[in-house]
C-alpha cells in the first residue's frame, strides 16, 4: 500500500506469515507490513473483521501482531530485526463456541 522514496541501504529481511519481506533498519514492523501489498495485520477480536495499522504512533492498538512468538505486540512501535518472525493474528476462539465441560457434567 506504501512505496519507498528510496531503496533501503543495508536492508534486513523479516518473515510475515512465512513470506520474506525486505525492510529498512529503523522501520517499524507495521511500516514493513504496509510496504507489502497487504496491510491487514489481524482480525478484530470482537467480530473477526480484518484490521490494519491506523495511527502509527502507538495509540490505537490496531496493529497488534505476533512477533517472535509473542502475541499482541504493537507493530508500529517494534523495530524490525533481521530474521524476525511476524504473524497476523486471527480472531481468538469466542467463549461459547466450544461446549463447556460444566454443561457436560450437568447433562
Amino acid at each position: 500500500m506504501f512505496r519507498r522514496l528510496h531503496e533501503p541501504a543495508n536492508a534486513v529481511t523479516i518473515q510475515i506469515d512465512g513470506s520474506p519481506v525486505r525492510a529498512a533498519p529503523g522501520d517499524s514492523v507495521a511500516a514493513a507490513l504496509l510496504a507489502t501489498g497487504n496491510p491487514v495485520c489481524r482480525q478484530s477480536p470482537a467480530s473477526g473483521a480484518d484490521r490494519a495499522p491506523f495511527c502509527m504512533i502507538g495509540a490505537c492498538f490496531e496493529c497488534l501482531m505476533e512477533i517472535d512468538g509473542v502475541p499482541n505486540r504493537q507493530a508500529c512501535l517494534v523495530p524490525v530485526r533481521e530474521g524476525m518472525q511476524v504473524r497476523r493474528q486471527a480472531r481468538p476462539t469466542p467463549v461459547g463456541a466450544v461446549a463447556s465441560p460444566a454443561d457436560k457434567v450437568a447433562s
Binding site: P45, N72, P92, T93, V95, V98, P101, A102, V105, A106
Partner: protein, 377 residues
C-alpha cells in the same frame, strides 16, 4: 403516598444489596426509594469480581449462600435478566499434598454440616474441568452449580425490576443526616428530605457512617480490593478458579477477557473515595497467575482497578435489625464476598421489614456482636 418525599422504606445505598432489597420490598408491594450518592453500582457492586461462589464460605454463611444460589439460577425468570450469570462451576486448585489434604478436610467439614456441594476432585477430574491448569496442580475442591455474573449488569437487573415494580431510585443523592420525626425517619440529603417509617442501611463500606448517624458504632475498615482484566483470549476456561494456597480468583468471561482478583489490597482514601493501586502486589498476582495458568504469560492486562469494600473484624457481614433504634435494618460490610449473597440478603431484609422475622439464621451477623469486645491493638 401523600407527599412526594414520602415512602414506605428508604434504602440507603444503590449497590447490589440496596437494589436487591428495593426489588424484594417492591415485590412485597411496598414503595421503597433508593438513595445513592453517586450512581447505581458506583462502588463494590461494579468493581466486584462477580464470583457466584458457595465454595469455601464461612459455615455461618453457608445457609444463606445455599438459598442465594437458587435465586441466581432463577434470576432470568424472576428479573427478566440473568445479569450474565453463568453456572460454570467454581474450582479451588491444590498445588501440593498439604493443600489437597486441606481440600479433604474442608469437604468433610461441609458434609458434617449437612451439605454436599463441595467435592474433592483428583488430578484427572481437575484437568477435565480446567485443561489449562499447570502441571503441579494435583486436584482441588469443586462446586458444580456455582459460577459468575457480570456485577454491573446483575445490579442493574435488580434496579430495573425494582423500578418496574414501583421503586424509585435517586442518584446523586447523598444522605447527610438522619433524625426521628414522630413515627418516621427524616433523612436529609443534598437533594432535600425523604421520610419513611423504615430505613435500610445498604451503604457498603460507608455503612458504619450511616449506623453512626443512628447512634450505633460498628467497626468497619474500608479496604480497596484490586482487580486486573486481560484482553480477549481464545476460549480456554469455563469454571472460576481459585487456589487453596495463594491469593487468586480467575475466570474467563463471556467476552473472552480474563478477570483476575484474589484479595490483594490497594490504598484507599474513604473520604475522597479514591483508590490507588499497589503494583508490587499486582506483580505477585501476576506471578501466581503465570504459575497456575502458564498460557497466560503473554496475555495482555488491559485494565487494573480497585473497589472499596467494608471489612469487619471477623470478616462476616452485618445483616439484620438495628439494636439501637426501631425500624432500621442493616445490610452492609460484606468483607469482599457479598456478591453471591446479594439476592438472598435483599429478600431477608424484605422479610424483616414486612414480617419482623426471617427463616434463615442471621444471628452470626448481628450488628452488636463487636460491642464490648476488647479494643483492637
Amino acid at each position: 403516598m401523600s407527599a412526594p418525599g414520602d415512602f414506605d422504606v428508604i434504602v440507603i445505598g444503590g449497590g447490589l444489596h440496596g437494589c436487591s432489597a428495593a426489588y424484594h420490598l417492591a415485590a412485597a408491594r411496598l414503595k421503597p426509594v433508593v438513595l445513592e450518592k453517586h450512581v447505581v453500582a458506583r462502588h463494590a457492586s461494579s468493581a466486584s469480581a462477580g464470583g457466584v461462589r458457595r465454595l469455601g464460605r464461612d459455615p455461618a454463611e453457608i445457609p444463606l449462600a445455599m438459598a442465594s444460589i437458587e435465586m441466581w439460577h432463577a434470576m432470568r425468570a424472576t428479573l427478566g435478566d440473568d445479569g450474565e450469570f453463568r453456572a460454570t462451576g467454581q474450582v479451588r486448585v491444590a498445588e501440593n499434598v498439604d493443600e489437597l489434604r486441606q481440600c479433604e478436610a474442608r469437604a468433610a467439614q461441609v458434609r458434617a454440616l449437612g451439605y454436599d456441594h463441595e467435592v474433592v476432585i483428583d488430578r484427572k477430574e481437575l484437568r477435565r474441568l480446567v485443561p489449562a491448569v499447570a502441571e503441579q496442580c494435583i486436584g482441588g475442591l469443586y462446586t458444580a452449580r456455582d459460577g459468575y455474573a457480570f456485577p454491573f449488569k446483575a445490579t442493574t437487573a435488580f434496579r430495573l425490576k425494582a423500578e418496574a415494580l414501583g421503586a424509585v431510585v435517586k442518584e446523586d443523592t447523598r444522605v447527610e443526616a438522619i433524625e426521628r420525626s414522630g413515627e418516621r425517619w427524616l433523612v436529609t440529603t443534598n437533594r432535600g428530605p425523604f421520610r419513611a417509617p423504615v430505613l435500610v442501611n445498604a451503604a457498603g463500606a460507608w455503612g458504619a457512617e450511616i449506623a453512626r448517624m443512628l447512634g450505633e458504632e460498628v467497626p468497619i475498615e474500608p479496604v480497596a480490593l484490586m482487580m486486573m482484566v486481560s484482553g480477549r483470549m481464545p476460549h480456554f476456561l469455563d469454571p472460576t478458579v481459585g487456589s487453596m494456597g495463594r491469593k487468586m480468583s480467575f475466570k474467563q468471561m463471556q467476552s473472552g477477557t480474563v478477570v483476575i482478583g484474589g484479595g490483594h489490597r490497594g490504598r484507599v482514601d474513604p473520604l475522597t473515595e479514591l483508590t490507588e493501586l499497589e503494583f508490587q502486589f499486582l506483580g505477585e498476582s501476576a506471578r501466581t497467575v503465570a504459575a497456575i495458568f502458564p498460557l497466560m504469560k503473554h496475555a495482555p492486562l488491559v485494565r487494573c482497578w480497585a473497589g472499596i469494600e467494608g471489612f469487619t473484624p471477623d470478616e462476616l457481614p452485618i445483616i439484620g435489625p438495628s439494636k439501637a433504634v426501631p425500624g432500621v435494618f442493616h445490610s452492609f460490610g460484606f468483607c469482599g464476598h457479598g456478591f453471591q449473597l446479594g439476592p438472598v440478603v435483599g429478600s431477608i431484609t424484605a422479610q424483616l421489614v414486612t414480617g419482623g422475622k426471617t427463616n434463615l439464621p442471621i444471628e452470626p451477623f448481628r450488628v452488636d456482636r463487636f460491642a464490648g469486645s476488647p479494643p483492637q491493638a
